[in-house]
Symmetry: C2
Subunit: 83 residues, 2 copies
């Protein structure tokens, strides 16, 4: 079994209005030390044993989980031994 | 300066319909090895130097960034030295 963590973030050049809204909200709450907020997605996938895990995860990310026009992705694959 | 990574995930007991939809989409695309998908948020904050960073980040998470009734959060704080 595999546990996969996928991180999807907006590309550096893409405007993040949601992050801007969160930043303003934090400033209103007196957290004025916050300079920038960027918001992304975090996904945890559980996979049964299969071949080519890394290749298949990469495909899932580029085809469905991330929009590669505006987003970058990275992932961590961890093999889990059921106890 | 600090770079803070915040991960917000749904609590184990909370249903994740968005994750379920992504799982079904992946099955339709023949990634039948996917057993479970849980979707969360990932945020990157940039902070200017300030005291009590950890305490203040914890407050931001519990007050605004996460809904602690249904979500858990964790964070990583990294000090960045401007070059």
């Amino acid at each position: 079994m595999y546990k996969v963590k996928v991180y999807v973030t907006l590309r550096e050049s893409v405007l993040d209005p949601q992050g801007g809204a969160v930043k303003r909200a934090l400033h209103t709450m007196n957290y004025s030390e916050v300079e920038e907020v960027r918001i992304g997605k975090y996904m945890e996938l559980t996979l049964t044993n299969t071949d080519d895990v890394e290749k298949r995860i990469d495909e899932m990310c580029s085809k469905l989980l991330a929009n590669t026009v505006i987003e970058d992705y990275r992932y961590e694959i961890e093999e889990v031994v059921p106890s």
